[in-house]
Structures are given as structure tokens and as C-alpha cells.
């Protein structure tokens, strides 16, 4: 089975200019008005939205990608990757991980999927460290408070 042609994750960070996005949006809405939206138009608009740095856009983009996933079984493999990428950008690492692993089950040799996988891992680890730091900080503050209380109690 051929592996899907998908962009590396870094491509998602490059956003389109406002005008370009506007053109894609107009195209999409025009087809909506004719009540027949081609998959390509939808994808173009969704991909443009996902690339943008504004979170609302990303959310909308992921929604459109989910639509494509539901309605076009032939495009599902590619959509898996894009959905993973979208969720990764939004910060939903668990969903990103589940989509990506589903894709990797199908195409273990997909380079982009593998690189996305490692990116998600790194991100999760980073959060883990931050979490540990917070937990540690919270623990420290907690012990200090306890110590203070106990001392006060024993003093009195």
C-alpha cells in the first residue's frame, strides 16, 4: 500500500496570509451556497485554518477535517494524519496520539507519521516535567505550611 503523501508537522506551523485564507474561505462558502462542496475545497479551507495561529481557526479546521473523515471513506487515511496534526497544534495530545497510532498501525513506514509521533512524545514529556515541577512546588509549599502549623501548635 502506498503511503499517503502528507506534509511534515513543521508545515503546519507556516500559516497562510490573511488574504489567501480569505480566498479559500470565499471558495468554500460559494460552494456551500451551491450545496455541493467538493472534498478538495473543504480540505483546502480546513488546512488553511489549521495552519493559522488563532486557536478558533484551528478548532474549526479540525472540525472540517472530522467532517471529511466521516463522509469520505477513501480519504480517511490521510485525514488521520491531518487530524493528529490538528489536535497536536491545539494541544490535545491524547487525541493526537490516538489518531496517529491508528495511522501507524496502517502505515508503519510513514515518515511524517513517525516524526509526528516523536513530536507528540516530546510534548507530552515536557508537560510531564512541568507537571512534576508544579507538583513538587505544591508539595514544598504544603510541607512548609504543615511545618508552620505544627510548630505553632507545639509552641502554644
Amino acid at each position: 500500500m502506498k503511503t499517503a503523501e502528507v506534509p511534515y508537522a513543521a508545515d503546519a506551523e507556516l500559516s497562510l496570509s490573511f488574504d489567501e485564507l480569505q480566498v479559500l474561505r470565499t471558495q468554500y462558502e460559494k460552494e456551500l451556497a451551491q450545496s455541493h462542496v467538493t472534498t478538495q475545497t473543504k480540505f483546502n479551507y480546513a488546512w488553511g485554518l489549521v495552519k493559522s495561529p488563532i486557536r478558533e481557526h484551528q478548532v474549526e479546521g479540525v472540525q472540517l477535517l472530522a467532517d471529511i473523515y466521516r463522509s469520505e471513506p477513501k480519504r480517511r487515511r490521510e485525514c488521520l494524519y491531518y487530524l493528529a496534526l490538528g489536535h497536536y497544534k491545539m494541544g490535545n495530545f491524547d487525541e493526537a496520539r490516538s489518531f496517529n497510532s491508528r495511522l501507524l498501525e496502517r502505515e508503519p513506514t510513514n515518515l511524517q507519521a513517525q516524526s509526528l509521533d516523536s513530536l507528540i512524545d516530546t510534548a507530552l514529556k515536557r508537560e510531564g516535567y512541568v507537571g512534576m515541577a508544579i507538583a513538587g512546588g505544591a508539595a514544598a509549599v504544603g510541607t512548609l505550611l504543615l511545618a508552620g502549623l505544627i510548630r505553632r501548635a507545639t509552641r502554644k
Binding site: E5, F43, Q63, P73, R102, E127, A138
Partner: protein
């Protein structure tokens, strides 16, 4: 960590409005804790319902299956990203850039002003001057200087040099643009195929809905017929309570023209439709005629080479007797309740009482005294009859009994089935129809006779030859196949070879009058010249002739609106009774020998082994063949959902419709 710390950490993370922590994963790990600073408001973010939707949808999407795409489909389908690159607006930028490189810095020609002037609009001088300052190189056209003059006449591309790299880059860009074009074309192809298949699916749905519509129309017609039938019965039963409700009349009134539901045993509903569930063997020669009184009642069949029609009980499927009296083949036969009329090639018409055919014990006793060897009937005594019973006695001989009686329709001491003999035709009787007390017959002497059954006298004789030579309306002369209709009719014998049946056999068709039907004083006849004539029996004249068939008419039926006739020209025509115009012509593959119709269908015997049914609402043909005949079907008759067909294989098959 102590439980207290865990609880503390939990409240820390639970306090801000966290998304999805509780819903999807009950586990608590460092990663979720690490997310809290983000959620606490690095960026003053609000979770929207959309985000929630998106996350919740994720799990549902994962459940959906991933189909495998076949290799050739994959080739035809460019990836989404490739399509993106081909269709995004910036895809065109390379082309625009190349075009820009070919823009030559030419002297200010004032093209815009020229074009505006050509259109008759005023140019704005201010704009012109402002632009001129931004011009790159202004080459003045001074005729004086030779060098400049030369320059002005050179082509625009003369001094432009691109350079090798630029040109190579342009080639690559062009190649890429062409690929983009291919991608876009294949995208459009895919879309078009998708739309086509959607249209095909919708068309299929529409066809199915139209079929359903047809079925509803059929049901409506059936209900109309049922209504008529019920109303008739209502009148009947209310009149029976009156003084003169004679059973005889009541049965007559509704039987032949009865279109509505008949009385059937409840088991009939369980029979599979379109399958012959009973077969009766009637001798060895093709069946020439059949009729029955009611479903599961009494059936009378007549075969070629056999002058004695058989009487059957349809409940048991057994022969109960024979009608002895005729000398020639029975060509026409009709059964109404317990009365049966037969016409044969000996030119006589006999009326039989079918109740007397049933072998009773009493009937067998009188034959002890007049037992004789088997004797045929001699035609000259008024109404003698021999009732023959198929069950042989203990000594193996067939008991025969003969009783002579007066031609009388009252019950006599001497039982006999034949009630009356009507003689008058000079040649064989080929068609007959009776209703109430009027009987109409058609014979090969090319006349139609009307008889009164109470007296047994012929009331009127109608000569077809006379009608042909004195047409009431001038025929339009549009019969290509029968220009000499009158001549052939006038000739002595009428004989037309039938078109071959499905099994290749054919015979000589000699019945000049193929079918008759009457109602009150209206009579319709179908004859060998292909004409369907409508007669008024009060005057004896044919007031209308329906021309259209190119072969002898073998069968016909009419009701209040239509006349349906079938002929050896392989067609069945539906005429308008009032105007004489043709509603429809139904074509078959072989000559039609028998038909019957109602508002929804025409059932016909068209020279094949199967019984043909034509659905009038949906205009579809169908054939009954399951457990059917092995040789072409010749005659048929149905009542409601009970159909009988007789064929050249000498069997009668009974079908549930």
C-alpha cells in the same frame, strides 16, 4: 506522595476550567498536571463548545472503519495535499511571476489613454502624469538621433536576456504547473464520476417510487371493481327479499360480466401466485374450448376429435361425466351456473343442464332396465342424450343409459343432461354467447343468429356478407393487408393458415366468426376478415365496423368502455366502444387465440406455452409458466384470482393469480 499531596494536586488541577480531563481519562498523571498552567490562562483562553465537540468527536471518529483503497483507485486520486498545492491561490504565482519577467520596460506609450479614447471615454490627465514619474526608463523618440530611431523599430524582446538559470527555473515551474493542471483535472473527473453515481442512485430510487405508484393505481381499480360487485349484490339481495327473486335470474345477472371478487375457499389465498396448482388431463387432442361456472365449481372442456365434452368437478379435480349428443368437434362453449351451451361443427347448438350430469345413485338405477351397449346419439330425435359415467361397474363394462325425451327444459322423469337443441345454421357453429334468455351464435356460413332460449326459436339472422358489401359508413380504405376483404369473404370457403405457434406448428384456421359477445341488444362480433363489427339486434344492422386487425379475429370481449379483440395477426387491440378509436395495441410474438380482460390486466393465450398477462396500468408483460403447459395455450378463462387455461397438450391447468 502522601494522599494529602495527591488530593492537593488534584484540587490544583481541578480548580481552573479544565477540558476533557474528567470525561476521557480518569487517570491522573504528570502530563495532565503539566497542562494546568496552559489552562490557567496563559493567553486568557476560553474553551468553546466547538472545542468540546471536536474532542468528543475524536473518539467517535476512531471507531469508524478504515477501508482499504485498491491500487488503481489510488493512482487516480491525488492526495489531499497535492490537490491543495494545485488549487491554492498561490499555485498560480509562478505563472504570474513568469509573465512579469516578460514585461519589458518599454517607453511610455500611453496605452491606457489610447484605450479609453477608443471607447470614447475621457482619460484623466492627472493620473497619467503621476504615473509617468514612476516610470523606469523613458526613451524619448526623437527622430533626429539615428540610434534612437533604430531602437524604436526593434521588437520588444530584442534586448531582453533572461539568463540560463532563470530559464531553467522557468522550465521547472512550467513543468510543475502542468502537473498541477493534471491534478486539477483528475480532481474534477473524480467529482464528475461521483455525481454521476449519485444521479444513478437517485434514478433508481425514482423508478422504484414510480412502480409503487403503479401498484397503488392497480389497487384503486381493483377496489372500484369490488365496489361495483358489492353494489350489485346489494341490489340483488334487497330485491330477493321482494316477491320475484328468482335464483336463476340473480345468477345470470352478475355472472359473465362479473368483474369483482368471486367466492373462493379460504385456502385459495395460501396458494403461491403464478403457479399452476392443478392439472386435468382431458384426452389426447388439443383443447378447443373450455368454460367453468365458478371457481371450484363445474368445468366443461371440449377437445378436437372428440364430440363429447367432459364435465369436471373443480373441487376434487375429477371428471364427473360427459355431454353426449354432438357429432362434430365442439368449437364454442359457455357455462353459466348450471347451464351449458355448446356449438359444434355439425351446425347444432345444444343446451345442457349440468346438474343432471352428476352421477347420482338414482340415475344409475334406471339404467338397469335400458342397459344397452354403448350407442352414440343420432341427431334426428329431438333431445336424446346419453349420460356416460366414467366409473365402470363390477363387470368392467361401462354402463350406458339412454333416454329419449322431448326437447324441453323442465325436469323430466327420464333424466338427461341435454335440455334443448337449436338447429338452423348450415355450417359449423364457431362462436356463441348467451346471457339471460338470449343466445347469439356465429357460424361458418357467415351468419349470426339470435335465439330465444325460452322458446328455442331463432329470432334474427344477421348476414355478415351482406354487411360487408353494404357498409354503414364508408371505410377509409386504410387496410393494406386486406384490400380484397370483400372478395375473400364472398368466396366459398374461408381458410387462413395461422402464423406458427411457439413450437412451430400451425394449422388452417377456418372459423369465419371467431368470437361474439352480446349485452341486451348490442352485439359485437369478430370475424375472419379482421373486422370487429358492432350490431344492433333490434334492427339487425351492423352500425359500426372497427377495422385495424390484419388477420382473423379469434377472441373478443367488451365492457362499458372498451372492446378488446385478439387476432391471428399477433396483436390485441383495445378499442373505444363509443367512438371506435383505438386506445392501445399490444403486440405478441404469435397469433392470439384467447383473451379475457378487466380494468387492470389482459390475460391472453398467444401461441406460447405460458399464459401471457399484460398489466394495463404499468404496461408490463408477464408470463405464467411454472408447472405450466408443455405445448401452446389455446383457451383460457378466469374469475377473480382463479384462472383456467387449456392447451394443445390436452391438459387444463388451474392457476392462482
Amino acid at each position: 506522595m502522601t494522599p494529602k499531596m495527591m488530593a492537593h494536586a488534584q484540587t490544583v488541577s481541578a480548580r481552573p476550567r479544565a477540558v476533557g480531563v474528567s470525561s476521557t481519562r480518569p487517570t491522573l498523571d504528570f502530563a495532565t498536571i503539566g497542562r494546568t498552567p496552559l489552562r490557567l490562562g496563559l493567553g486568557a483562553r476560553r474553551t468553546t463548545s466547538r472545542e468540546l465537540q471536536v474532542v468528543e468527536a475524536a473518539s467517535e471518529l476512531l471507531a469508524a472503519p478504515l477501508p482499504d483503497v485498491s491500487p488503481d483507485e489510488e493512482v487516480g486520486m491525488p492526495s489531499l495535499l497535492r490537490g491543495f498545492e494545485a488549487t491554492v491561490p498561490s499555485a498560480d504565482s509562478a505563472r504570474v511571476r513568469r509573465r512579469a519577467t516578460r514585461n519589458v520596460d518599454a517607453p511610455r506609450l500611453g496605452l491606457k489613454r489610447l484605450s479609453l479614447g477608443a471607447r470614447g471615454l475621457l482619460a484623466e490627465p492627472a493620473a497619467d502624469e503621476a504615473e509617468s514619474e514612476e516610470d523606469v526608463v523613458v526613451v524619448t523618440r526623437e527622430r533626429g538621433r539615428r540610434g534612437r530611431k533604430k531602437r524604436g523599430r526593434e521588437s520588444l524582446s530584442a534586448n531582453k536576456v533572461f539568463g540560463r538559470e532563470e530559464l531553467e527555473r522557468q522550465t521547472r515551474e512550467i513543468a510543475r504547473d502542468k502537473e498541477n493542471l493534471h491534478v486539477r483535472r483528475s480532481l474534477l473527473h473524480n467529482d464528475i464520476t461521483e455525481i454521476t453515481s449519485k444521479i444513478a442512485a437517485l434514478d433508481a430510487i425514482r423508478a422504484r417510487l414510480e412502480e409503487d405508484l403503479f401498484k397503488l393505481q392497480e389497487d384503486e381499480l381493483e377496489l372500484d371493481d369490488e365496489l361495483l360487485m358489492v353494489q350489485e349484490r346489494l341490489e340483488l339481495e334487497t330485491s330477493q327479499n321482494g316477491p320475484s327473486g328468482s335464483r336463476h335470474a340473480s345468477l345470470m345477472a352478475s355472472s359473465r360480466r362479473r368483474k369483482g371478487p368471486a367466492f373462493l375457499p379460504s385456502e385459495h389465498d395460501e396458494l403461491p401466485p403464478g403457479v399452476a396448482f392443478m392439472s386435468l388431463e382431458c384426452g389426447s387432442t388439443p383443447i378447443t374450448s373450455l368454460d367453468f361456472s365458478e371457481p371450484y365449481g363445474t368445468l366443461v372442456t371440449a377437445s378436437q376429435e372428440d364430440a363429447h365434452p367432459r364435465v369436471w368437478d373443480l373441487l376434487t379435480g375429477e371428471e364427473v361425466g360427459r355431454l353426449r349428443g354432438h357429432v362434430g368437434t365442439i368449437k364454442a362453449l359457455q357455462v353459466e351456473a348450471h347451464l351449458c351451451a355448446t356449438g359444434a361443427t355439425d351446425g347444432a347448438v345444444r343446451l345442457w343442464d349440468l346438474r343432471r350430469v352428476d352421477g347420482d345413485v338414482e340415475a344409475s338405477e334406471w339404467d338397469l332396465s335400458d342397459v344397452l351397449e354403448e350407442a352414440e346419439e343420432d341427431g334426428e330425435s329431438g333431445g336424446s342424450v346419453v349420460v356416460d359415467r366414467p366409473h365402470s361397474g363390477p363387470n368392467g363394462t361401462v354402463r350406458a343409459s339412454r333416454a329419449s325425451e322431448e326437447a324441453d327444459d323442465d325436469d323430466d322423469d327420464a333424466p338427461g343432461a341435454c335440455v334443448r337443441v337449436l338447429e338452423g345454421h348450415s355450417k359449423g357453429v364457431t362462436a356463441l354467447y348467451f346471457e339471460n334468455d338470449t343466445l347469439v351464435t356465429g357460424a361458418s356460413d357467415k351468419t349470426l343468429r339470435q335465439w330465444d332460449l325460452t322458446t328455442g326459436q331463432c329470432v334474427m339472422t344477421m348476414d355478415i356478407l351482406w354487411a360487408i358489401s353494404h357498409p354503414s359508413t364508408l371505410p377509409a380504405g386504410h387496410m393494406p393487408g386486406f384490400p380484397v376483404a370483400g372478395a375473400t369473404a364472398a368466396a366459398g370457403a374461408f381458410a387462413v393458415p395461422t402464423p406458427p405457434y411457439a413450437d412451430g406448428s400451425w394449422e388452417l384456421y377456418q372459423d369465419f366468426i371467431g368470437a361474439v359477445q352480446s349485452w341486451e341488444y348490442a352485439l359485437v362480433s369478430g370475424s375472419g376478415d379482421g373486422a370487429v363489427r358492432m350490431w344492433d339486434m333490434r334492427t339487425g344492422q351492423a352500425h359500426r365496423t372497427l377495422l385495424g386487425h390484419t388477420g382473423p379475429v379469434t377472441c373478443l370481449q367488451f365492457d362499458e368502455i372498451h372492446v378488446v379483440s385478439g387476432s391471428l395477426d399477433k396483436s390485441v387491440r383495445i378499442w373505444d366502444l363509443r367512438t371506435g378509436g383505438i386506445f392501445e395495441t399490444v403486440k405478441y410474438d404469435h397469433g392470439v387465440t384467447a383473451l379475457q380482460f378487466d380494468s387492470r390486466k389482459i390475460v391472453s393465450a398467444a401461441g406460447e406455452n405460458g399464459v401471457k398477462i399484460y398489466n394495463r396500468t404499468s404496461m408490463q408483460h408477464s408470463t405464467l409458466t411454472t408447472n405450466g403447459h408443455t405445448r401452446p395455450v389455446e383457451k383460457l378463462r378466469y374469475m377473480d384470482r382463479y384462472l383456467l387455461s387449456g392447451g394443445r397438450d390436452a391438459t387444463v391447468k388451474i392457476w392462482a393469480l
